[in-house]
Amino acid sequence: MATLWFCFLAVMVTMYVVLDGFDLGVGALHLWLAKTPEERQQATAAIGPVWNGNEVWLIAGGGVLFLSFPAAYAGAFSGLYFGLIIVLWLLVGRGLALELRHQINHPLWEAACDAVFCLSSATLALVFGVALGNVVRGVPLGPDGYFSLPLFHILNWYALLIGVFGLVVLAAHGANFLRWRATDAFAERAGRAARRLGILAAVLFVALIWPTYHVRDEMLTNLTDHPWRLIFPALAVGSLAAMFIMQSRQRWLPAFVASSLFIVGLLTTMAAGLYPNLLPARDNHPFGLTVHNAATGHHALVTALVWWPLGMVLAAVYFVFAYRMFFRTEQAPKLGTQEPREMAP
C-alpha cells in the first residue's frame, strides 16, 4: 500500500514538473527569445490561462506527500527550511508577475513584470533541481526524523549540478513549447534554443551519471538489480532521441510531447533509483525515511485510495477540456492530440 502511494506521489511530482515545467522554461527564456513587446505578450499569453492550473499539481502533490508520508513531509520541509521559504517567495513573485502584468498597460510595468517572471522562473527551476539533488544525495537525518541544513549546505556541489541540469531541461522544455506555440521569428529563435538546450541537456545527462553514482551508488545498482526498472532511463533516452528527430522534421507538437516524456523518464528513473527510500540519510546512516517507516496508517491510505483516483479523473477531464480549448488554435499541427496522453495518471 505504501508502495502504491509512492507511485502516486511520483505521478504528482512528474505531472507538476512536466506541466509547470514549460511555464518555468518559458519564463526563464522569454527575455532572450522574445525581442519585441508583442513577442513577450505572446509568450505570457500562451501560458496565462493554464499556469495556475499547472501549479495546482505542486499543491496537490504537497497534499499527497502530507497525506501519505507525513514524517517525510515534516522532516524534509523543516530541514530544508530556507530552501522551501525561498521557493514560496519565488512562487509568490512568479504568480503575481504573470497575473498582474496585463492589469496595467505601461511599458515599464510590463518590463518589470517580465523581469520578475524571468528571474523567479529560472531560480525556481534551479531550486527544484537543488531540492531533488539533496534528496538523492541524502540528508543528515537524526534518530528523531529531523535534520537541519543551513542554506549553504543545501547548495552543495552535487545538488547545484542537479539544479543546473533541471534548469537546462526545463528551459529546453519551455523552448519546445514556444516553438510549438509562437509565430514567425520568435518561433525560429525558440526552435534554435530548443535544439541547443536539448544537446546541452543530453550532455549533462551523461555527465551526471558518475557524480550520482559517487554520492549514492544505489541510484544505479537499484536499477541494475531490478532490470525491469531500466525501462525508465530507456524512456528518457528514447524520448530525448525522439525529440531531436521531431525537431529536425519540424514537427513541433511531437517534439514538445517528446520533451515531456523525457522529463517523465528522468523523474521516474530517479524514483526507481530511490525506492524504497523516500528521504535517505547521508552516508548510509540508518535513520533514513523509507516508504515503510514514513507511511501513515493503513486506514488513511486505503480511504484515500477511494477518493484520490476520482479526483484525478476529474482533474484530467478539466485539463483535457481546458488544454484543448486554449491550444487548439493557430499553430497546433494536429487537433486534439496534445495533452491527453500525459494526463493518464
Binding site: 502530507f66 520541509f77 537541519s148 486554449f326
Partner: protein, 469 residues
C-alpha cells in the same frame, strides 16, 4: 514558551491572516458572480421564477455587472492563490511536529482540497477569464458555477481540517502520532457543519457588502447607475439574508458547540471568570487577568445561560473550574476579538436591514446617508470575519489540537528552524505582503476608477449596446 515557537506562531498569524483577507472576498464574490451570471444566462421575460424574470436589456446589465466583478475577482483571486501556497507548506516548514503527529488524519482533508477544489477553481477561472470569446455563453455560465463550487469546497476542506483541530474525532493513536479511523467520521465531525455554515455565511456577507459598497459609490458619484443599482440591490438583499443566517442559526449553534466542547474558550469569550447559575450576557467590560474579574462591565442578567441552554438559571462553567494550564494564553485577546465580532455583526445587520427596508419602499437609490453608510460599511465585514477567526484560534490555545497536542510541542525543532531564522523569514513575509497589499489596492483602485463601462458586452443586440451608455 520558547522563543522559536513564538516566532513560528507570529509568522503563521501573519501569513494566515493576510491570506484569509482574500478568500473571504473570493468565496463571497464567487456566490454573487454565480448569481449575476445565472440571471444573465437563465433570465427570460416569462420565467416562472420571479427573480429570473428579466428583459433582454436587464440581462445585458447583469452580464456587464458580472464582467466587471470578474475583474475585481481575478485580482483578488490571484493574490489569494499566491498567499495561500505558503500556508500549506508552512505546516511542514514551521510546524513539523504537528504535521508528523496529525498528518495521518488531516492529510486527508488538505490533500482533498488540492485535488477536488483547486483544480476545478483554477482551470475554470482560466476559462472564465481568458475564454470569454472562445466559449459559448453556456460554458461561460458553467465556469462561473464551477468557480463558486470550487471555492466553497475549498472552504469546506479547510473548515473540516480546522474542525478536527478544534474537536478531534475519528482517530486513534499513541503519543507519537494519530491515525485516521473513520473517514466518514472526519467529514461529519459535529464541529464541521455549523462552523462551515457560519464561516461561509461570513464570507457571503463580505461579498454582499462589497457589492453594495461599489454600487453605493457609483450612485453617489452619479455614474454607471444601471450597474450601480444592480450591485446595491443584490448586495443589500444578500447582506440581510446572510446577516440573519450568521446570527441564527449558525452563530447560535457554533457558540453552543463551543460552550459544550470547549468550555475554557467559551468562558474566555464571555469573560466568565466565575462559575455561575443564571450567567449574565456581558455587553461591555474589560477582563482583568490579575484579579480574575471583569472591570466596569455592562451585562444583561441571566441572558447568557438562556442563550446557551434555553434555561434562565442554567449553571455555566467559568474559568475558575478549569485548571490554569488549560486557559487560553491571552484571555483579553479572545474576549475582545469575540466582542468585536458580535458588535460589528450587530451594526452590519442593522445597516443591511435598513437598506432592504428602503429598497422595499423604493427610496434606497436616492437616500444619500444610507448610500454613504453602505459605501463605508464593507471594511467592518473583514474585521468581523478576522475577529471571528482570532476568537476560534486564540481561544483554542494552549492546544494546537484540542486536548491532544499543545502548541509549544507542535513547532519544528529549534535545531532545524531556530528563532533567528524564523525572524528573518517572518520579516521577509511581512515585507513581501506589505508590497503585495499596496499593489492589490492600487490595482483595485484602477479597476474601480475605470469603472464598469469598459466591460465588453457579449451580445450585439441594441439593448446591450444601450446598457453601456
Amino acid at each position: 514558551m520558547s522563543s522559536h515557537v513564538t516566532v513560528d506562531r507570529l509568522q503563521f498569524t501573519l501569513t494566515v491572516t493576510f491570506h484569509y483577507l482574500f478568500p473571504i472576498l473570493t468565496m463571497g464574490l464567487a456566490l454573487m458572480m454565480a448569481w449575476l451570471k445565472s440571471v444573465s444566462y437563465l433570465g427570460r421575460e416569462d420565467h416562472r421564477f420571479p427573480l429570473l424574470r428579466k428583459t433582454e436589456e436587464e440581462r445585458a446589465h447583469y452580464e456587464a455587472a458580472a464582467v466587471f466583478w470578474a475583474k475585481i475577482f481575478a485580482v483578488n483571486f490571484a493574490v489569494g492563490v499566491v498567499t495561500g501556497i505558503p500556508l500549506e507548506f508552512q505546516f511542514g516548514t514551521n510546524w513539523a511536529k504537528f504535521s508528523n503527529y496529525a498528518g495521518g488524519v488531516i492529510g486527508q482533508t488538505l490533500a482533498m482540497e488540492g485535488v477536488f477544489a483547486f483544480f476545478a477553481e483554477s482551470i475554470f477561472l482560466g476559462i472564465f477569464l481568458a475564454g470569454r470569446k472562445r466559449v459559448s455563453p453556456r460554458v461561460h455560465w458553467i465556469s462561473a458555477l464551477f468557480i463558486f463550487v470550487g471555492s466553497w469546497l475549498s472552504g469546506f476542506f479547510i473548515i473540516a481540517t480546522n474542525a478536527w483541530m478544534q474537536h478531534p474525532v475519528a482517530y486513534s493513536g499513541n503519543g507519537k502520532a494519530v491515525q485516521l479511523d473513520s473517514f466518514w467520521g472526519l467529514l461529519t465531525n459535529p464541529w464541521v457543519g455549523w462552523q462551515y455554515a457560519h464561516n461561509m455565511s461570513g464570507a457571503a456577507i463580505t461579498g454582499a457588502f462589497v457589492l453594495a459598497a461599489m454600487g453605493a459609490y457609483f450612485l453617489l458619484m452619479g455614474k454607471h447607475t444601471e450597474f450601480a443599482k444592480i450591485s446595491v440591490r443584490v448586495g443589500v438583499v444578500a447582506a440581510l439574508i446572510f446577516c440573519v443566517i450568521q446570527i441564527f442559526p449558525t452563530g447560535d449553534r457554533a457558540a453552543h458547540n463551543t460552550a459544550h466542547m470547549q468550555p475554557s474558550k467559551f468562558a474566555a469569550m464571555e469573560g466568565m471568570f466565575k462559575t455561575e447559575k443564571g450567567a449574565p450576557l456581558v455587553i461591555l467590560g474589560n477582563p482583568n487577568t490579575e484579579q480574575h474579574k471583569l472591570d466596569s462591565s455592562l451585562a444583561m442578567p441571566h441572558f447568557l445561560s438562556f442563550l446557551t441552554s434555553r434555561h434562565w438559571n442554567e449553571e455555566l462553567k467559568g474559568l475558575d473550574r478549569i485548571p490554569t494550564d488549560q486557559w487560553p494564553d491571552s484571555i483579553p485577546l479572545v474576549y475582545y476579538a469575540y466582542h468585536i465580532m458580535v458588535g460589528l455583526g450587530t451594526i452590519l445587520v442593522a445597516i443591511a436591514g435598513l437598506g432592504v427596508l428602503l429598497l422595499w419602499r423604493g427610496k434606497l437609490y436616492e437616500n444619500k446617508p444610507m448610500l454613504w453608510a453602505l459605501m463605508l460599511a464593507f471594511p467592518f465585514t473583514y474585521i468581523a470575519n478576522i475577529a471571528g477567526w482570532v476568537t476560534a484560534e486564540a481561544g483554542r490555545q494552549p492546544w494546537v489540537i484540542w486536548g491532544l497536542l499543545r502548541t509549544k510541542n507542535a513547532a519544528s525543532p529549534a535545531e532545524s528552524v531556530p528563532a533567528g531564522t524564523g525572524i528573518f523569514t517572518l520579516l521577509g513575509f511581512a515585507g513581501l505582503y506589505l508590497f503585495v497589499g499596496i499593489l492589490f489596492l492600487m490595482l483595485i483602485v484602477r479597476i474601480v476608477s475605470s469603472g464598469p463601462e469598459d466591460a465588453e458586452l457579449p451580445t450585439t443586440s441594441s439593448a446591450a449596446a444601450a446598457g453601456t451608455a
